[in-house]
């Protein structure tokens, strides 16, 4: 078992991005009454799927040392997109935060964060087992 495999990298970047999303959702909720504030969203799923590259379609085949390796190793320069929510309804003071929606997104984010933590714990448990058993 490779210690530095994709699973660990994917899980840790997923945790990082979910923390980031939690931060942005907290900011949206805190600014739910700020005039002119636009609700923000974080999108990282597509970038993470590209970096994870399960089916191997995303990276370019390289046959030579001097070829550029496009697509693979994407975990290091993975960047989430932060943008203003395009679906927000603008209220009379120019604010687009929908509190209920933010709470729902936060709950979803927390569940998936917990799932990632659990997966990471299991993965580390597997490694521990492999190291310890005699």
């Amino acid at each position: 078992m490779d210690v530095n495999d994709k699973t660990l990298k994917a899980l840790s970047s997923s945790l990082n991005f979910r923390q980031m999303r939690q931060e942005v959702i907290s900011a949206n909720i805190a600014n739910a009454d700020t005039p002119g504030y636009r609700s923000k969203r974080v999108d990282f799923e597509a970038a993470l799927a590209r970096a994870l590259d399960v089916d191997g379609n995303m990276s370019m085949k390289t046959g030579d040392q001097r070829h550029f390796d496009v697509g693979s190793g994407g975990f290091d320069n993975l960047k989430p997109e932060i943008f203003n929510d395009p679906n927000g309804v603008v209220s009379e003071d120019g604010n687009t935060v929908d509190r209920d929606r933010e709470m729902a997104l936060m709950a979803e984010n927390k569940i998936l964060y917990d799932a990632s933590v659990q997966l990471l714990a299991k993965k580390l448990g597997l490694m521990k087992y492999a190291v310890q058993s005699q």
Partner: protein, 145 residues
Amino acid sequence: MDLLTSLKISSSGLAANRKRMGAISSNIANAQTTRTAEGGPYRKKEVVFGAEPARDSFSEILEGELSENAKAVHATEVISTNRPPILKYEPNHPDANDQGYVAYPDINVMEEMTNMISASRSYEANVQAMNTTKNMAMKALEIGR
């Protein structure tokens, strides 16, 4: 990018809504106040919210895109000036002017109550966000156990 910044943002939301609640209760309590230390009737207080970057140290700001997107809320208390006092004819009132009119603050108690409910809901939402953040941080401590 850390959970502590989320906590900071949520606590700014709590502080802002507490300030708003303070202004609202002051308005309700003084809905009939005709004399103040500054003279004249009580003036309605309002709290205005503004977004500000949650990170304050330079290195944190350099960290990138998130700093300009994750914003804390900052509340400022202002005295409302666009609401002239209401004049009521009460010649026996000690604060009546020469014509017998008393200046009462223009405070609509119903409006204050709805604002109060809104502030209370916002406060609860921020508490909820804070609890979620806290649970996430606690969960992260379980990794590798």
